[in-house]
């Protein structure tokens, strides 16, 4: 074999190798994202598209599907149970936003003060309910809310000198179901949201407080004009996630109310309604229509929240 042949062969090799490298460079990004794309296509995109198509059928499993056009959607909008579920879910979400989040922020402000002793302990104490599952919390509060023998009624009866009767039915009286749910969720989630606010408060520049104090700002003015703007991105995040979480409420009322919506559907949420129609009554087509209606509603609410809090401008 001559030297010329050798060098030509080497050139070819190099040429081949360079082509392979070029192909590799082009293909690499696609290969890297391929596992995610394949999994998402199978377990994400396909079910999403399938559920959209299912929402136009009355179904009884894959074998029995009858096309019904938009009848699922029109029935849904005229079903009084659906509107009860919407009302309950919205009320719960409003309580989450206007009661639970201020409590969480208040706790965070309190526990970020240097004069509070044992702050680490209190942080853990307030956060710890979130370490328990919703199942356990549901069972626990079902016992605490007992009429006659439950701890909450006994305490309230003693504290109010008998004004609140021992016989108060939290979970068996439609008027008291929502307050019971809100109390339970505050106990469970206020500490969780407090952690987000605490982290945000710790990142606020202390110089801003000093400068505002020099300018004569009082505590409220500091909170209003320094703290709130500084932690606004976190407030928006907590607001959006809490709202979305509230709209998807299921386990807590389901367990607290004994595997059902409670008296007079007072604890019926949109997801409970979806679950009942899809998995108890067995019409997955109708349940898909409920799911899509909820998804569109959640998208609209989130967009409004982001717009109102100005988070999009921040971004």
């Amino acid at each position: 074999m001559s030297a010329t042949t050798l060098s030509r062969g080497k050139e070819n090799d190099l040429g081949g190798s360079s082509g392979y490298l070029k192909w590799q460079a082009k293909a690499a990004p696609y290969l890297f994202i391929a596992p995610f794309l394949i999994l998402f296509a199978v377990f994400g995109a396909y079910p999403i598209i399938k559920s959209l198509s299912l929402s136009f059928y009355a179904t009884n499993g894959p074998k029995d599907a009858v096309p019904v056009g938009i009848a699922n959607y029109s029935f849904l909008l005229s079903d009084p149970d659906f509107w009860i579920a919407v009302k309950n879910t919205v009320v719960y979400a409003l309580f989450s936003i206007f009661l639970q989040l201020p409590i969480a922020l208040g706790l965070a402000l309190l526990l970020s003060q240097d004069w509070v002793k044992g702050r680490s302990f209190w942080r853990l104490a307030f956060f710890s309910p979130n370490l328990m599952g919703q199942v356990f919390v549901g069972v626990l509060f079902a016992i605490l809310f007992q009429p006659q023998f439950g701890l909450i009624n006994i305490a309230l009866n003693k504290l109010t000198g008998g004004y609140i009767p021992l016989d108060t039915k939290w979970l068996n009286d439609s008027a008291n179901v929502m307050p019971a749910l809100v109390i339970t969720s505050i106990w469970m989630y206020a500490g969780f949201n407090m952690i987000y606010f605490l982290a945000a408060l710790q990142s606020v520049d202390k110089d801003l407080y000093e400068a505002s104090a020099v300018d004569g700002a009082n505590l409220w003015q500091q909170f209003r004009h320094v703290t709130i703007p500084a932690i606004m991105p976190v407030i928006t995040f907590v607001l959006v996630t809490s709202t979305l979480g509230s709209l998807q409420l299921f386990e807590l009322p389901y367990l607290l109310l004994g595997n059902g919506p409670g008296p007079d559907n007072a604890g019926l949420t949109i997801i409970m309604y979806l679950y009942d129609r899809g998995f108890v009554t067995g019409d997955l087509g109708y349940a898909s229509a409920v799911g899509w209606t909820l998804a569109i509603g959640m998208l609209i609410i989130s967009l409004i929240q982001v717009k109102l809090t100005g988070a999009s401008r921040e971004a």
Partner: protein
């Protein structure tokens, strides 16, 4: 390649290595496959424990292997329903289902129901005569029977005898609900003690009263009937017993009819008595030991003198799935568990559950005095009332119908508490019709 250059370093490499090692170990050591001729699911622990004692005998007799499994009561219907809907093979050969979940399996065309049609087998073996015929009704859809009844579940009134004696009440003189209410007004102390546990918001006890009067949610043809005259009369009778400020309020409830809640209610004399189907009597024996010897039973009061003195609460069916590999063997096992008189008598001693097989009631176990119930012959009292147990009919939308009936109860109680019995009849009719129409509207969408 230098290991240090591995993307994201040693941590990612270690995790990948661990995943590969554990994955390989799992692949090389698959869990042993259960080789059974029959797989049987039950949701009730007492049933499981009873079957566990006897199924080996069946295995020996038939040279086969049975895999008996206890599955969560919540999980069983959902797993089974999902498997039926998706036409999966991963279903048991036979299983027991709770009565309230049974109807949901009968949705869709009859030929697509996941359970085997047992009608011909039941007829061939003459089981409709041997068992209480009304107990087949809840497991029947469009004239075909898909389940074998496990029980009868007659309902009695179980009460704290010592309180009644202290108050000078002779229960043998209570014949009708009117008599019962009079006694209730005497012994009830508002907010402190009530004659009977009945809910103003839940449907369990109202349903018992509805069945006692031959009412129901659906008729045998699947038509919604919970707004008929019987339902109206039942509601008008029931609401004043549970509504606040009612002159005849003799009932109240805690947040649950089960577990520690009812145990506390009974032990603290908040309730004098409860509606007591046979299965619940065993729960009392197990969970409220302090009342041993103090409790007693009496038939439910009748609606009118000489009328029916019982009703029904709960039930279980045994079904054979269409995917069952050996349906004849499964049917044989079903009969082995449900028809063996000696064994049924033994099982009664452990569960207090009265079997629907009439011949079994002759066994001495049913005449044994029960010390918990003041020495009364529990089995005989239930057996005497069993033939009177009313039929209840199911439907794929039974859950919806129950929920709507409960909503009507809540409407009526609120109205009664606000305005008393003024125009109450008209209100009850209107409320029941409204809720029944809502159910009808939803059911009408079902194309099957």
């Amino acid at each position: 390649m230098n290991l240090r250059e591995f993307p994201f370093g040693y941590a990612a490499l270690s995790m990948l290595a661990l995943a590969l090692i554990t994955g390989t170990i799992i692949l090389l050591n698959p869990p042993p496959k259960k080789e059974a001729d029959l797989t049987f699911w039950t949701f009730a622990k007492p049933h499981y424990e009873a079957y566990e004692k006897v199924y080996h005998e069946f295995e020996k007799e038939n040279n086969c292997k049975v895999d008996l499994q206890l599955v969560s009561g919540q999980g069983l219907p959902q797993r089974l329903q999902a498997a039926f809907l998706a036409d999966l093979n991963d279903v048991p050969d036979m299983c027991e289902n709770e009565i309230s979940a049974a109807g949901s399996f009968f949705r869709g065309p009859v030929e697509h129901i996941g359970f085997e049609d047992l009608t011909d087998r039941i007829k061939a073996d003459g089981l409709e005569e041997k068992m209480i015929a009304s107990r087949f009704a809840p497991y029947t859809s469009r004239g075909r029977v898909f389940g074998l009844p496990h029980d009868v579940h007659p309902v009695l009134f179980g009460y704290n005898r010592t309180i009644m004696e202290r108050e000078g009440i002779d229960v043998s003189k209570i014949e009708t609900w009117d008599d019962f209410i009079k006694v209730g007004q005497k012994v009830t102390i508002p907010d402190k003690r009530y004659l009977i546990e009945m809910s103003a918001t839940g449907r369990d006890q109202l349903e018992i009263c509805l069945f006692q009067r031959d009412g129901g949610y659906f008729d045998p043809a699947g038509k919604v009937i919970f707004d008929n005259d019987i339902a109206v009369e039942t509601m008008k009778f029931y609401v004043p017993l549970v509504a606040k400020n009612s002159k005849t309020r003799i009932a109240n409830t805690l947040s649950s009819s089960f577990g520690a809640v009812i145990a506390q209610g009974m032990a603290n004399e908040y309730f004098i008595g409860v509606m007591l189907p046979d299965w619940r009597s065993k729960i009392f024996e197990n969970e409220i030991g302090t009342l041993e010897g103090k409790m007693a039973l009496m038939p439910l009061p009748a609606v009118t003198k000489g009328g029916r003195r019982t009703s029904t609460w709960g039930g279980t069916m045994l079904g054979i799935t269409k995917k069952c590999k050996n349906k004849d063997l499964a049917w044989k096992f079903a009969k082995f568990l449900y028809l063996n008189e000696k064994d049924l008598a033994r099982r009664f001693a452990g569960t207090n559950i009265l079997p629907p097989v009439r011949a079994a009631w002759k066994e001495p176990a049913f005449d044994k005095p029960n010390p918990y119930w003041s020495g009364q012959k529990l089995g005989r009292i239930y057996a005497n009332l069993a033939p009177e147990v009313p039929a209840q009919y199911t439907h794929p939308f039974i859950g919806l119908a129950k929920s709507k009936f409960e909503q009507a109860l809540n409407d009526c109680v609120k109205r009664y508490e606000a305005e008393g019995d003024k125009d109450f009849d008209a209100f009850v009719r209107q409320s029941l019709k409204k809720r029944a129409d809502e159910a009808r509207r939803q059911i009408a969408r079902n194309p099957y």
